[in-house]
């Protein structure tokens, strides 16, 4: 058995470290964007927007490193799966960063603060996005095929949650608008923001689930992306 790390192993460790850093950077951007939204803090929101360039730069670095590993070492088996998944994951992470930027941009453009009622409506989706992202981040640190599979099957819950939130907002919009025409603009502005934020949060959940699918692929070598539950069960 060799004790010294090969060049490939060193490069794979480097790739893993850079992905962990990217997970953390995107996680911070998401959290800051949500805090900025909750506190209507435009300065904090602007910081998230400004920080996106760093996330984009990290994506490029990881892309280059993954390509370099493929060219220099032609990895196979788990190593190959890891590099292929890294290329897919880095793209998902960058897009979660973009969702954080979208939420921050909405916060910056707010002429009307979302009502506390709107926050309470969005709260389950905010909590779900935070929870799924932190779970997938932890899963990448400590990979487990069982947990990855479990997490990846959560997309139905996220979709249902988004639907419920949107339905609540729409009901609120029609009711408030009908009751008091003076407040219609205010309500519709707040509701539009709410809908856009709900959409962004739902996408965060979807992308986090895609990340879980990639972790499963790394561990098991089985691609469960786009597979219906029954097909996943049979492939497992």
């Amino acid at each position: 058995m060799q004790t010294k790390e090969t060049q490939l192993q060193q490069m794979l460790s480097q790739l893993r470290t850079r992905l962990l850093v990217m997970f953390a950077a995107v996680g911070i951007a998401l959290e800051e964007a949500l805090l900025a939204l909750e506190s209507a803090n435009k300065g904090k929101a602007q910081a998230v927007i400004d920080g996106d360039d760093l996330i984009n730069a990290k994506e490029n670095e990881i892309d280059e490193l993954a390509l370099s590993i493929l060219v220099r070492n032609q990895p196979v088996a788990h190593d190959l799966r890891f590099v292929v998944a890294a290329l897919r994951m880095v793209s998902e992470l960058e897009r979660i960063g973009d969702e954080a930027v979208d939420i921050a941009t909405l916060t910056c453009r707010m002429d009307c603060s979302p009502s506390p009622k709107m926050f309470s409506t969005l709260a389950p989706l905010v909590s779900n996005a935070r929870d799924i992202y932190s779970q997938v981040q932890e899963l990448f640190k400590n990979p487990s095929a069982v947990k990855a599979l479990e997490l990846s099957r959560g997309d139905v819950d996220s979709t249902q949650l988004e639907f419920t939130v949107l339905q609540t907002i729409m009901t609120e919009l029609s009711r408030e608008g009908g009751e008091n025409c003076k407040h219609t603009n205010l309500v519709s502005c707040s509701s539009t923001q709410g809908i856009l934020i709900a959409r962004a949060l739902s996408r965060v959940c979807g992308r986090a689930i895609n990340l879980a699918e990639q972790i499963y692929f790394i561990e098991q070598g089985v691609n469960i992306k786009h597979l219906p539950a029954e097909a996943v069960q049979s492939s497992v």
Binding site: M1, L8, V76, A77
Partner: protein
């Protein structure tokens, strides 16, 4: 299955080199045998056309069936067997004769006398080995004047001339440059439409490129065998994974 092997054990004197190897080879497919040096893959390969019979004190046990015929049977004609199961070695070994005579040699040994028939066979074999275009204007010059890659393809053409059903290749491209290696691999790809090919290689990428099935040997034992794509993306055993990813061997 073209070849079936059952409980193959092999001994060099008192030293056992193969332990109960059970492996089958589908017809018109390429199977790569991989594993670290000394794992028994070349020994196993040479069992398949009884090349090991030539080694003093060597003993093989087990069953090898080629098209349902036991090749270790006393009734088996070894010369006829090696005509059916051709072999290409690591180092090109052309005869010190012309290119034409190298390919024609096996035909003549097997009793072919008609010059035009021989010439046709030589041309076909050189075409199948992807060498004809490069040597068609100098067929009657010495084979030793060819490059290493061309010599190796000449050896393939020589093996093909007698129309084997199986071709054994023991690291056929290990001494060749990337262009020559690519030509050999292209030949393998073409030949597998008509032949069953078994190739020993230390080059994991080559095994992944050319073979349909891969068998991993370690310390004389067959550890894992399966479709190449599966073996190189998600092998079942950690030992296989560790070897193909370069963690040992």
């Amino acid at each position: 299955m073209k070849i079936r092997t059952k409980n193959i054990n092999f001994f060099y004197g008192n030293s056992q080199a193969l332990f109960d190897v059970n492996l089958d080879f589908p017809e018109c497919c390429v199977t790569a045998l991989i594993g670290p040096s000394g794992c028994g893959k070349s020994t196993y390969l040479r069992c398949l056309n009884r090349m090991n019979d030539l080694i003093p004190d060597a003993k093989a046990t087990g069953e090898i069936w080629l098209d349902g015929v036991d090749i270790n049977s006393r009734r088996t004609n070894v010369v006829s067997l090696r005509k059916q199961v051709g072999m290409v070695f690591q180092k090109p070994n052309p005869f010190p004769k012309t290119i034409f005579e190298n390919v024609a040699y096996g035909l003549k040994v097997n009793g072919m006398r008609n010059p035009s028939e021989i010439a046709d066979k030589v041309e076909q074999s050189l075409i199948r080995a992807a060498l004809f275009d490069e040597v068609k204007d100098r067929l009657h010059t010495s084979a030793l004047g060819l490059s290493g890659g061309q010599q190796q393809r000449l050896c393939i053409a020589r093996a093909l001339a007698v129309e084997p059903a199986v071709l054994l290749m023991d690291e056929p491209a290990s001494a060749l440059d990337p262009i020559a290696t690519q030509k050999i691999e292209e030949s393998i790809h073409e030949l597998k439409e008509q032949l069953t090919i078994i190739i020993v290689t230390h080059n994991m990428q080559q095994a992944a490129r050319v073979s349909d099935y891969t068998a991993f040997f370690y310390m004389g034992k067959l550890i894992e065998h399966g479709e190449t794509e599966t073996m190189f993306t998600r092998p079942s055993l950690k030992q296989t994974e560790d070897y193909i990813t370069g963690r040992f061997g």
